[in-house]
């Protein structure tokens, strides 16, 4: 010990030399964010960034939900005069764009940003400054879109923005440019986050966490990140082409000059279909976590579950044409995509079967998180099966672009992603805040959401079959769609109430909820090994993983590794497959530059919808802020 004390003076204090509360306090100081506005804006703590992401994404969820409510009021009866076509078109565009780009993808990433480092037993996400930057860019993109909407420059061409309707001739003004650049903002954020996840998961796992011990949620995030890396560039290329067509007169989508409007659809759906799985796969990971925790046993079929995730990720790139069955493509090609689209039912089916088998072989505990997962089964399986109908070219020619499709994808996305997400919030809320959410409100929340959802969206299947197309701002009384639409509106109001209840539960439980303790559900993965909420350093010492559910395997003291620096930020970096530790790599300390860089990038994009020269002039502040970001500040993290 005296030897160790002597080495303290060398400013290289290791966690093997101190213990207990001193170690905890010193690490908390090293990894902490500090006080004050500048510190808050400079933070690189994945938990703080994730909380901001979560709150922002839920704000966008409510904005998207309110736009949906406005549309449902308009459609409640035939020839309603509540809102006109111009505003209605903006509203459904805002609804789709917000839900897809500003809520669903970011919220899944937010949960991942919070949980992945905790589940892996590391102290921060890889590239934490990039992480902070990606949040700011996402925030600016979302603000950009909604401020534009408030100023009556809201895009009005649908979240899919088909050319030529979104092109320069039929979309005058800046509305579509706003949409196209908002895409660029959010895709940059998503792509950066995906790279962080991939590197964190491959390199920063706790020692001993071999590939077959990675928690299923983390596997889901890993596969999702690969899907993002290969899918999102498509929409960036497409939206860049669109904005170039609109601003500087290129001809990518102009058939008279050799372009082709279907090129847009190919590029968009090459991204757009994987997008669905980018949203669903993390949710599948949440379902796995919740099912395992509440069935009180390890997942039955870990390997098939992982392989299914990977298979879904791969197959999701072979489906995009099923969004284009009515565009007059060659029949044989369309039939090929029918087969492909149906094929994806197999891995998804395997996942469902494995979860049910896990519940079957376990001893289910009926708490709110599990309720939401059961709701997920009910709704998502139905949505998946109607998806098989849409995969068939003939059936698709009837129901494509009708309310049947609206019903289908809300079953898939709300059932497949939002229900698991709400379950996940109930499940991980104690970890994030240290307090339990109210179980009583939770049950009300679930049943209202479940009934409201089915009442709102089941009738839409029938409306679609009765011939009601999507994206119509009104319909005539003689069409006979009034009753079902009224029913759907009532359902959507109930659904909205359930979300208000959810918000109330979050706010009140955050203040007055029961104190949770480290592991209120007695779950098995590493995030439950640390305190609730976790300290800035996540873990005082890095766990040594011996099993898939370390906390179930190690009922006694958890085995850990030591030897990391205490006075500077260090993380354990290991090998890709075995997670054998090879480096004590330093992790960047807080910096204000990612915020400045995001402002510079945001300003450049904003300017670029007015003049292409903004890209040239904007590159100067972008370069300056990036140099500021990467230039070493002389801190120990920078030098070692």
């Amino acid at each position: 010990m005296s030897d160790a004390l002597a080495r303290r003076d060398e400013r290289d204090l290791r966690d093997t030399m101190v213990d207990g509360s001193e170690l905890h306090a010193r690490l908390a100081k090293t990894w902490g964010t500090g006080r004050g506005l500048i510190a808050a804006l400079s933070t690189v703590d994945h938990k703080i960034v994730a909380r901001r992401y979560l709150v922002t994404a839920f704000v966008f969820l409510f904005l998207g939900g309110l736009s949906a409510a406005a549309m449902r009021i308009q459609l409640a009866r035939p020839e309603n005069q509540f809102i006109g076509p111009d505003l209605y078109n903006q509203l459904f565009t805002m609804h789709g764009t917000t839900m897809m780009f500003l809520f669903a993808v970011p919220v899944m990433e937010a949960v991942g940003i919070y949980l992945v480092p905790l589940m892996l037993g590391t102290r921060n996400i890889a590239f934490p400054r990039l992480n902070a930057f990606s949040y700011w860019v996402f925030l600016f993109g979302g603000l950009f879109l909604w401020v534009a909407f408030i100023l009556n420059i809201g895009p009005d061409v649908g979240w899919f923005a088909y050319t030529p309707l979104s092109g320069p001739q039929y979309s005058p003004g800046k509305r579509t440019d706003v949409w196209a650049q908002m895409i660029t903002f959010t895709e940059i954020a998503a792509l950066a986050t995906a790279v962080e996840f991939i590197v964190t998961i491959l390199k920063q796992r706790a020692p001993g966490m071999t590939l077959d011990r990675i928690p299923l949620f983390v596997w889901a995030i890993l596969v999702t990140s690969f899907v993002i890396v290969f899918a999102m560039p498509a929409v960036m290329v497409a939206s860049t082409m669109l904005i170039l067509d609109r601003l500087i007169g290129t001809h990518f989508f102009n058939p008279s000059e050799g372009g082709d409007s279907l090129l847009w659809q190919h590029l968009f759906w090459f991204f757009g279909h994987p997008e669905v799985y980018i949203i669903f796969l993390p949710a599948a990971g949440m379902v796995s976590s919740i099912v395992v925790a509440f069935a009180r046993r390890p997942a039955l079929g870990y390997l098939p579950l992982v392989l299914s995730l990977i298979a879904v990720g791969f197959l999701s790139f072979g489906l995009w044409v099923h969004h284009m069955f009515t565009t007059g493509l060659p029949q044989l090609g369309a039939a090929f995509f029918t087969a492909n689209s149906m094929l994806i039912a197999i891995p998804n089916g395997i996942q469902i079967f494995c979860w049910i088998a896990t519940l079957w072989g376990g001893k289910p505990v009926f708490r709110t998180p599990l309720l939401f997962v059961l709701g997920f089964f009910f709704i998502f399986v139905l949505g998946g099966l109607s998806g098989i109908m849409l995969a068939s070219v003939p059936i698709d020619t009837q129901v494509h672009d009708t309310y049947f499709v609206v019903a289908h994808f809300h079953y898939v996305l709300i059932g497949g992603a939002v229900f698991p997400l709400l379950g996940a919030v109930y499940y991980w809320f104690p970890k994030i805040t240290g307090r339990m959410m109210s179980e009583r409100l939770g049950r009300w929340n679930f049943w209202l959401a479940f009934i409201g959802f089915n009442l709102a969206f089941f009738p839409m299947h029938l409306l679609g079959l009765q011939g009601m197309p999507r994206r119509v701002y009104t319909y005539q009384p003689e069409m006979g769609w009034g009753t079902l639409n009224l029913l759907a509106t009532i359902g959507s109001v109930i659904l909205l109430i359930s979300f208000v209840l959810f918000l109330w539960n979050v706010v009140s439980s955050n203040r007055r909820g029961e104190i949770a303790g480290d592991n209120p559900w007695d779950a098995g993965t590493l995030e439950w090994a640390t305190s609730s909420p976790p300290p800035p350093q996540n873990f005082d010492r890095i766990p040594l993983v011996t099993s898939r559910e370390p906390l179930w395997a190690e009922r006694g003291p958890l085995p850990v590794v030591g030897g990391l620096a205490v006075d500077m930020r260090q993380v354990v970096v290991g090998t890709v497959t075995e997670a054998r530790p090879i480096l004590r790599e330093s992790s960047p300390e807080p910096s204000i530059w990612p915020l400045f860089a995001a402002i510079a990038v945001g300003g450049t994009f904003l300017g670029s919808i007015f003049t292409p020269w903004a890209v040239v002039w904007g590159s100067i502040p972008v370069a300056i802020t990036l140099i500021g970001w990467f230039w070493p500040s002389g801190s120990p993290e920078d030098e070692k």
Partner: protein, 335 residues
């Protein structure tokens, strides 16, 4: 579970009610639509049964009395192997179902898009927000243009060529056939047959801008004689008006902005950017399936098109009430 079935009952009731209606995919009135409805119901029953089975399995998994196991890691490997075998066989079963459904879909697709010698060729051009319709004949003098309403002889294959003058639209008359897009710079076609005389409504099914909601089309299926009679009438230019009110209406029509966009064959009105009005009075609806044809609706439409279809390309013009009534009666008489 009883809760779910309680909810499902009214839903099924609505589903059955959905079979009627004049724009319903399940109200099949031709071989193509029947093929589609048949395939739809096969899929619905098979997939519905699967859904029900999954829900029953889930309920059983939740309700069966569990062995008491305090330690979550305490699992019975032999039992797990049995579960794994069940999961594996279910996965294989999923594969078989998917294969069968794919096969059915492909066969159906071939039936649906089978090419038959057509008796009538109709060229439909989508425009924001109406349908330009041209009956094409080898004999050019028997070709003619109309709008928003197609007529077809019962039992005869009809070829519909689809194209767009501006953005993407989609042609969809659910009782006769699935939809197909109209895309500028590309020519799509579909073939369909109507089995029974009747009026079937359709609607644009691809979002096409402000008035996507008001872009309806009527398909009128009628006997061969009725169809021929209709076609001969459509080929003829408009008859000069007989009564003074309509004569006044024609005179007003020809001096107003109307003629900048609309055509009435047999008069100097030769505009090419709006629906041909030569026989507008013979059509059942106005403004692309928006208002039933009547003198009152004609007047309402002319006096305030943007109250009915905000953003439509028809401008609001200044008209004296007398002229308005005269024009409405002139147009109504263009049978």
């Amino acid at each position: 579970m009883s809760r779910f079935s309680l909810f499902l009952l009214p839903a099924i009731g609505f589903a059955l009610a959905g079979c009627r209606g004049w724009q319903s995919a399940l109200d099949a009135q031709g071989p193509q639509a029947s093929e589609l409805a048949w395939l739809f119901w096969i899929f619905t029953w098979v997939l519905g049964a699967i859904w029900l089975a999954v829900m029953i399995a889930l309920a059983a998994a939740l309700l069966r009395s569990p062995a008491s196991r305090p330690d979550p890691l305490l699992v019975n490997p032999a039992q797990d192997r049995r579960y794994a075998a069940v999961v594996a066989s279910l996965a294989v079963a999923t594969g078989v179902v998917v294969l069968v459904l794919t096969g059915l879909s492909v066969v159906s697709q071939r039936n649906l898009f089978r090419v038959e010698e057509e008796a009538v060729t109709i060229r439909v051009t989508g425009r924001q927000w109406w349908w330009e319709i041209r009956y094409e004949e080898a004999d050019a003098s028997r070709s003619f243009t109309t709008a928003n309403e197609i007529h077809l002889p019962v039992g005869k294959p009809v070829k519909i060529i689809l194209n767009s003058a501006d953005v993407i639209h989609s042609f969809w008359v659910p009782s006769l056939m699935g939809k197909q897009d109209l895309i500028k710079g590309q020519e799509n076609d579909i073939r369909l047959v109507a089995d029974r005389p009747g009026i079937y409504r359709g609607q644009c099914a691809e979002f096409c801008g402000l008035q996507h909601a008001h872009m309806g089309i009527l398909a009128v299926a009628e006997s061969q004689q009725d169809f021929e009679r209709w076609r001969d009438a459509q080929i003829r230019p408009a008859e000069p008006p007989g009564d003074p009110e309509r004569q006044k209406g024609q005179a007003a029509f020809l001096t107003q902005p109307c003629i900048m966009c609309h055509s009435v064959r047999g008069t100097p009105a030769g505009g090419k950017v709006a629906p041909d009005l030569t026989h507008v009075g013979s059509r059942k609806y106005l403004a692309a399936g928006t208002l039933p044809m009547s003198r009152g609706n004609l007047a309402a439409w002319i006096v305030d098109p943007h109250g009915i279809k905000p953003g439509v390309n028809m401008p609001t013009i200044k008209l004296q009430p007398d002229d308005l009534n005269a024009i409405a009666s002139y147009l109504e008489g263009l049978k």
